[in-house]
Symmetry: C2
Subunit: 89 residues, 2 copies
């Protein structure tokens, strides 16, 4: 197995994990509907991304910091839309 293959798979997996939030941000923004979205999921998700950033700083990994900072921004915006719209919004 080429030495670079695991690194490439990890980078693509990380990028997909981050990019995956984009369609949900756009859908919630366009439709203004967040009723089916779980508030608790996004509270826990935001906390997790803050901890991943702390982890990235501790081990000095810029990719982990950058990917998780982008994920924090997107999941944080979904959380804010959910809070703004209220439980049934």
């Amino acid at each position: 197995m080429p030495y670079w293959l695991p690194v490439a798979i990890g980078v693509v997996a990380g990028a997909l994990s981050t990019v995956s939030f984009a369609p949900q941000v756009l859908k919630a923004w366009r439709e203004g509907d967040t009723a089916a979205i779980s508030l608790r999921m996004y509270i826990v998700t935001v906390i997790a991304f803050v901890m991943w950033i702390v982890y990235g700083v501790m081990i000095g990994s810029l990719p982990i910091i950058i990917f998780n900072a982008l994920s924090l921004i997107m999941s944080g915006s979904i959380l804010m839309m959910k809070i703004r719209n209220g439980p049934d919004g």
Copy 2:
């Protein structure tokens, strides 16, 4: 900084990332409402978790395999509920 602190932060961040899906699975299951949930988000998320599992196998990391397998099961069940309910469901 104690040597174990980054490992502890990473494990907690990983566990939170996985656990975060549970409230969304329960909410979608109980309410049968997935209208506001983005189909594209969960298609990309499921692909990302498959790739994280491949990455975990390649580097021989059981925690990465286990966390991402659990995340795949939960995000996969949200995806299936979304597909079953249809775009407006």
